[in-house]
């Protein structure tokens, strides 16, 4: 990226898809919270994997298998460093955030008794609600909800009231995908620990935007998805403290995760293998580490700063639109703006601005409880990345004005 760490033109050149045309218009991609785009180095690493290295890992004596295993385990170390985990065996690769959360929820089946309590926040993505509802059904545990305010923030004093010695685990996202609110997870964790409860942080929307340090947070579990982190689809990350990963049972049975198998008795391998049954997404994991390298080269601090400026610009421009309502105006938020305009339907606006080549998300964003709170069926959500520009925001505003005119 040369001397200037943040040259937007050079950065945009790294992403082949940003040159695409959609319905004859230049693509403007503002759906980064759904999935981020993929820099060329990441695509290249996939090509290189399948052209030079492809082999099943861990089990093979042969050269390719060794090399692929090394690359895979190096990726684990990269994620360890990225999250500042104590040991690389605390990093488990899964197929996505959703899988990671299900793995942990499954691990608590035998740790929960009827009447125990678990705490969710009102700001969660369905992926951090439904697995726990399934857990409650299996165990008779009760789910408590940290309420939110009109600003889209969790009400901490209410959270404190929910905690008790019955609380066994708390699960909250670091950043809300629907509103962009950054939650005070460090404080949430430390409060939960006072009651001996574990905490899982869903960092799917945090990892792309700022530096996360699991030791500093003292998180028990921290999860994310590579496809939201400039990596490929089909790779998830699960950080777990060694004590926890050792304590909870394996999620899936299969090859790799065993020590010895007989029909009478099977013993399981140590972490991380215990949780990685079957052939993992080898190419995907290796490419995910390349994506980490890529964003680290730009620098997460540079990214955070640029994205903050862009968020402020977009917020200000949007607020100039008549009758706009932005949902979630926490002062502590990142890269997401969720809004509606008058009583125009989000879906109508989305459809028309799509014809202008602009990709935004409309609907409930897998966060129906938030929509229920505001008593709406959905919003238009733009979510920003460091490759977006103020010009793109201007085009968005323009397209919204067109839509508004057509629909009113």
């Amino acid at each position: 990226m040369g001397n200037n760490k943040f040259n937007i033109d050079l950065i945009r050149n790294d992403f082949p898809i940003l040159n695409s045309k959609v319905k004859g218009k230049q693509l403007i991609y503002l759906d980064n919270a759904a999935t981020t785009q993929t820099p060329k180095v990441v695509i290249d690493s996939i090509v290189s994997y399948y052209s030079n290295l492809n082999a099943n890992i861990h089990r093979g004596v042969h050269y390719l298998s060794q090399k692929a295993t090394e690359a895979y385990e190096d990726a684990r170390k990269k994620f360890q460093q990225q999250l500042n985990a104590k040991s690389s065996s605390e990093i488990i690769f899964t197929s996505g955030t959703t899988h990671s959360i299900n793995l942990v929820a499954n691990g608590f089946i035998d740790l929960l008794n009827k009447g125990d309590e678990i705490i969710v926040s009102h700001l969660e993505h369905h992926s951090n609600i439904v697995p726990w509802q399934m857990l409650c059904e299996k165990t008779g545990a009760i789910m408590r909800v940290i309420p939110m305010s009109e600003k889209g923030e969790l009400i901490f004093s209410e959270y404190e009231k929910l905690l008790s010695n019955k609380t066994k685990i708390v699960f909250v996202n670091h950043v809300s995908n629907a509103l962009g609110t950054i939650n005070p997870v460090k404080e949430i964790i430390s409060k939960a620990h006072e009651f001996g409860a574990a905490v899982l942080i869903d960092g799917a929307q945090a990892l792309p935007h700022f530096k996360v340090n699991v030791i500093d947070l003292d998180a028990d579990f921290y999860v994310g998805s590579a496809h939201k982190l400039y990596g490929p689809t089909g790779v998830g990350i699960l950080y777990g403290k060694e004590e926890w990963l050792t304590k909870i049972p394996p999620y899936q049975g299969g090859g790799e995760m065993i020590d010895e198998v007989t029909f009478e008795k099977t013993t399981y391998a140590k972490i991380p293998n215990k949780f990685e049954a079957g052939t993992p997404n080898i190419a995907g994991v290796i490419a995910s580490a390349v994506a980490l390298d890529y964003i680290n080269e730009i620098g997460l601090d540079n990214i955070a700063q640029y994205e903050k400026e862009l968020l402020d610009y977009a917020t200000q421009k949007l607020l100039e639109i008549d009758e706009i309502k932005i949902y979630g105006d926490s002062t502590n938020k990142t890269s997401v703006i969720s809004f509606n305009i008058g009583n125009l339907h989000h879906y109508d606006i989305g459809t028309i601005i799509d014809n202008e080549g602009i990709a935004v998300r409309t609907g409930h964003h897998c966060a129906q409880p938030i929509m229920d709170y505001f008593n709406i069926s959905g919003t238009i959500r733009i979510s920003l990345s460091f490759y977006n520009t103020t010009q793109e925001i201007d085009s968005l505003i323009n397209a919204i004005m067109i839509a508004k005119k057509m629909l009113s």
């Binding site: 959905g378 057509m406 629909l407």
Partner: protein
């Protein structure tokens, strides 16, 4: 606007009409404007018909579709919370309302392909469209079995 017109046109004839109307538009903005217009002019459905049973899933927006029998013709009324969806519903009603159950069951809605609606609708909306047509046919089957 044709919503409750007493016409003798067959489903096939109405489809042809629609195809030629859409052929007049030179770009998609015009088509959308037309659809939005149709949406705005769709007569309101009686609120008592906005029941869960009359709700069609499969789209981000909600659609309510109600059918009644009038003199061996089926009359459809409908609504949606999104205006573009309302417009699409309006077209479907123009095609299928006030027709006999047999005709509704037996005629393919091929105008949709011809006016390029599907390509220009989002996947979810296209699915919604399919659900609507399916629902219209189901109503017709139900009535023809009575």
């Amino acid at each position: 606007m044709y919503f409750y017109k007493k016409n003798n046109l067959t489903i096939q004839q109405i489809q042809s009409e629609i195809i030629s109307e859409f052929n007049m538009f030179s770009d998609w903005t015009e088509k959308y404007e037309y659809i939005i217009d149709l949406g705005k002019n769709l007569p309101v459905i009686d609120p008592k018909f906005k029941t869960p049973e009359n709700t069609i899933k499969g789209c981000q927006s909600k659609v309510w579709l109600h059918a009644e029998n009038n003199d061996n013709k089926i009359i459809f009324t409908a609504d949606s919370d999104a205006i573009i969806t309302r417009g699409i519903v309006a077209i479907l009603i123009r095609v299928f309302s006030n027709q006999s159950a047999e005709d509704i069951i037996n005629t393919k809605a091929d105008f949709i392909e011809e006016i390029g609606l599907k390509q220009h609708l989002s996947q979810t909306r296209a699915n919604g469209l399919s659900s609507m047509i399916k629902q219209i046919k189901l109503y017709a089957i139900a009535y023809s079995n009575k």
